[in-house]
């Protein structure tokens, strides 16, 4: 079955440190890939997406993600986190077979001052 795995439920990072959030998917072909962010009590905001082409994609708020086909991964990165990045981050995929997003369980990012 198609699935998305975010292995880290929580991650704590010091302000100014670099960040990497992991996402792995289980699907035969390369799906469309997304990262969303949800601040507490808010809706989800699209950070970035990958459809094809350059495997390193840039998003909003200084985030980037790298697609690695060999590892079925789409990890999210930021060189230096800010306290305002504290939120929950969701990875999602759309398989070619349908148009429905398959969601990871989310990773909660905690920023230490």
């Amino acid at each position: 079955a198609q699935s998305v795995t975010q292995p880290d439920i929580h991650i704590t990072v010091s302000e100014g440190a670099s960040l990497e959030l992991r996402c792995n998917y289980s699907y035969g072909a390369t799906p469309y890939l997304f990262w969303y962010v949800q601040s507490p009590g808010q809706g989800l905001q699209l950070l970035l997406k990958y459809f094809s082409g350059d495997t390193l994609v840039q998003g909003i708020k200084g985030f980037e993600a790298e697609f690695k086909r060999s590892q079925s991964s789409f990890n999210l990165r930021k060189p230096s986190v800010h306290w305002s990045d504290a939120a929950e981050y969701f990875c999602a995929v759309v398989p070619y077979s349908n148009y429905q997003l398959i969601w990871g369980a989310g990773t909660k990012l905690i920023i230490k001052p």
């Binding site: 997304f34 989800l44 759309v94 969601w103």
Partner: protein, 113 residues
């Protein structure tokens, strides 16, 4: 530009009472529309999606129903709320037959007491 609205923002209802949550999208036509629920500390659960007026698919059997009386209006209802219906309800839209990312509303926090 497109915007999505949800109301109410918060709602406290007793067990057994009815429910109506509304979602409207502006600035687009014939969108795909989605209702999700987030239980406390959990990920996204797709409840319903709609590809057109009166075309609604249910993903999870439950105490809820959805209707789409107009092209850009999506309503989530219940005749009798259960305690387990508490959660954060998110509406989302996707541009029909185009890119696959979904855009989310601000959400409704429902507490069933």
């Amino acid at each position: 530009s497109q915007t999505i609205h949800q109301w109410p923002a918060t709602l406290v209802q007793p067990v057994g009472s009815p429910l109506s949550l509304e979602c409207t999208v502006e600035g687009t036509s014939n969108p795909n529309l989605y209702w999700y629920r987030q239980a406390a500390g959990r990920g996204l659960q797709l409840l319903f999606y709609s590809i057109g007026i009166d075309q609604i698919s249910s993903e999870v059997p439950q105490n809820l129903s959805a209707s789409r009386p107009q092209d850009r209006q999506f309503i989530l209802s219940s005749k009798k709320l259960l305690l387990s219906d508490s959660g954060f309800y998110l509406c989302a839209w996707r541009q029909n037959d185009r890119a696959y990312e979904q855009y989310f509303g601000p959400g409704t926090r429902l507490t069933v007491t």
